[in-house]
């Protein structure tokens, strides 16, 4: 009964908080309205998202976010350097196949998004069975090392968070 009423409890809380941040003012009316949205939206959208994602260690999320933010800053500088100073024919663009150990769709989505947001790599396609992801690297001299870095830096941590 309770899980019928709140199919995604995390989403309920997140929606209410986002609403409060959007209006930028905490008043009883806004809290009430935010809560109403938080209850109604998950109910309406639950047919499209039937399973509840399992989050094993929520506190690792903070560590993951910090690492990704740091990587984004470092990689931004690297990519800016390549765009500005590297001669066109010396940019070694390559495809990299990254086999996945992750199985939860939410975890794979977060990982693909992370790969795209860190400059220099874009996740382009998933394999038909969902067990590996195709990554486009702007510049790499060692595709194997790029793949290992993605696996050890992001995938290992996501596995701890989601599984």
């Amino acid at each position: 009964m309770l899980s019928r009423l709140f199919p995604h409890p995390y989403l309920t809380v997140i929606l209410a908080v986002v609403w409060l941040l959007l209006v930028n003012k905490v008043t009883p009316g806004n809290v009430l309205l935010g809560t109403v949205f938080g209850i109604i939206i998950p109910l309406i959208t639950s047919p499209y998202w039937p399973d509840r994602p399992k989050i094993g260690r929520p506190f690792r999320i903070a560590e993951y976010v910090l690492i990704v933010l740091w990587d984004i800053i470092v990689a931004n500088v690297v990519v800016a350097w390549i765009i500005l100073f590297r001669p066109q024919d010396k940019i070694r663009t390559a495809w990299v196949t990254v086999p996945l150990d992750l199985t939860s769709p939410e975890a794979i989505t977060v990982m693909a998004g992370t790969i795209t947001m860190t400059p220099g790599t874009v996740s382009a396609m998933l394999s038909a069975d969902g067990r590996s992801v195709l990554v486009h690297c702007l510049d790499t001299d060692d595709p194997q090392a790029t793949r290992d870095q993605i696996k050890s830096r992001y995938e290992r941590r996501l596995k701890e968070i989601f599984e």
């Binding site: 500005l84 940019i91 495809w95 196949t97 947001m117 382009a124 394999s127 969902g130 590996s132 486009h136």
Partner: protein, 131 residues
């Protein structure tokens, strides 16, 4: 205090401007479409990020009011930018990249854009009118 805040705000604005410019320059300079995809996804991170940090600092220290809208913009940007990049990449690949040019999947079934998902049932759409 005021002076330090203004220096910090200016610093982040300049950083944001530089990366926005470099990202756009990448669009012009890089050769292939897939390479060009790397330019703007980078500009959205540090380019927009710098402006948002500058805005938060400005409201916190100069106007003395906390503003959370910048955080929301960051979150929404991180949710939507990868999806756009992925769609552009896929649309381009299906038109211009043959599957033989890609590396092996190392699993069964080939790459998702070129094949049906493994284990999926193809539903034929009936064109007959119901009687």
């Amino acid at each position: 205090m005021h002076l330090y805040a203004e220096i910090a705000v200016s610093f982040f604005l300049v950083v944001s401007g530089i990366f926005g410019l470099v990202g756009s320059w990448g669009l012009i300079r890089l050769k292939s479409t897939l390479q060009r995809l790397h330019g703007p996804t980078k500009a959205t991170t540090l380019g927009v990020g710098g402006a948002l940090i500058a805005s938060m600092l400005y409201f916190a220290f100069v106007k003395n009011s906390l503003s959370f809208h910048e955080l929301l913009i960051t979150i929404f940007l991180f949710l939507t930018a990868p999806v756009t990049a992925n769609f552009i990449a896929k649309a381009f690949m299906l038109h211009h990249v043959r599957e033989e040019e890609l590396p092996e999947t190392e699993t069964e079934g080939g790459w998702g854009g070129y094949h049906d998902p493994v284990g999926a049932v193809r539903h034929e759409v009936s064109t007959k009118k119901p009687e």
